[in-house]
Symmetry: C2
Subunit: 245 residues, 2 copies
Amino acid sequence: MPRYKLTIEYDGTPFAGWQMQANAPSVQERVRDAIAAFCGEPFIPRGAGRTDSGVHALGQVAHIDLAKDWPPGTVLKAINFHLKPAPVAILRCEEALETFDARFSAKARHYRYRIVNRNAPLVIERDHAWRVGPPLDAAAMAEAARHLIGRHDFTTFRASQCQAKSPLKTLDVLSVERSGEAITIEASARSFLHHQVRSMVGSLKLVGEGKWAPDDLRKALEARDRTRCGAMAPACGLYLVRVDY
Amino acid sequence: MPRYKLTIEYDGTPFAGWQMQANAPSVQERVRDAIAAFCGEPFIPRGAGRTDSGVHALGQVAHIDLAKDWPPGTVLKAINFHLKPAPVAILRCEEALETFDARFSAKARHYRYRIVNRNAPLVIERDHAWRVGPPLDAAAMAEAARHLIGRHDFTTFRASQCQAKSPLKTLDVLSVERSGEAITIEASARSFLHHQVRSMVGSLKLVGEGKWAPDDLRKALEARDRTRCGAMAPACGLYLVRVDY
């Protein structure tokens, strides 16, 4: 029973998220249906991580097992054919060891959050970035972000419905860079708590607006209190960029 | 009768182009309707240049005349309010001299053409770039592009329906750069012939694929013969980036 590693891009806008659920369209279900249409096996792909409704992926990873030993190029083309017209595409398909697990073998997950800092509504990037009107101080946001890097109890930035056993996580990267009206936040860790990136970005935005000093982010972290978190940033600006194994 | 200069962004996908026409949605008409909804004056905005069906703009410029002397910030917010939900946004509104003409005062027009060089279908950038499967040699494309810079008879790269008086144009910039799977072509000139950028890009793609040598582009230019042009690149990859005055 050969195992395949799929690297998947999707536009999260029309989906209720990666994870299959009753009565709502999911990326996982869409990929499963494409696999079934190709080879008759409705194998449910196992993803590296859930993405919420409206969150995009440039490089989600999932594994599938098929009964027949198809060439990876055939699997890739066939699934992409049957995915149309959904905004989901398989970028790469590789044979994997049977011990490979998209979720449990992952060593690092890389997310990007995109803010467009301007007053005019987004049209070309509608649903693909967070438009923030007030001028943001990206240098102050970058300074504040450094307080979150490292191993911490991230309870402040954790959704109430988060199922992780522990709020302790090690954040390896949290950078903020401005290029014109675009502000890009990169976040990397072995794993994240539910809503962690969007919660951190929501608080960084308060720093950017000057409502919080950079040090207020450290205080919010140390409070380990969800009520101290800034309003969560919207899903449409978040991208799962890459998963390392 | 105060004149205003509008800088406009739009997603060209749902439009038959900038220019108003019977029985097809245009950006120009949509902006006119928003002006009328705001102040009761159905003034037709005069654009710096037509863009074809499906071509996008990051910085189209148009001028309008209004009967009343509104503050520019009011004009901007009101038009944006009435443009919703069309994918058109006014980025800037400035008062202009009555001698200012968006089309005839323009000193330079800057276009960008975006190619994504990969096999997988585009999903996040669907309708916003040209996907080209075969690997393209961007260095060869850049070398070929240099043959087109300067003052030339661009008949080879001119649409049969082009209304310009002369095929002589001065191309100031034609650059090709690769970043990962993205290839970006920048083109700048005082003005362009109809379909000139997409025609040049279509021929550059042949160079990228190795079907043409870089020097074949020079020969095609010198032939002054439309039948020597490569198949025109699709509209969805083209952006009117900026107009200088």
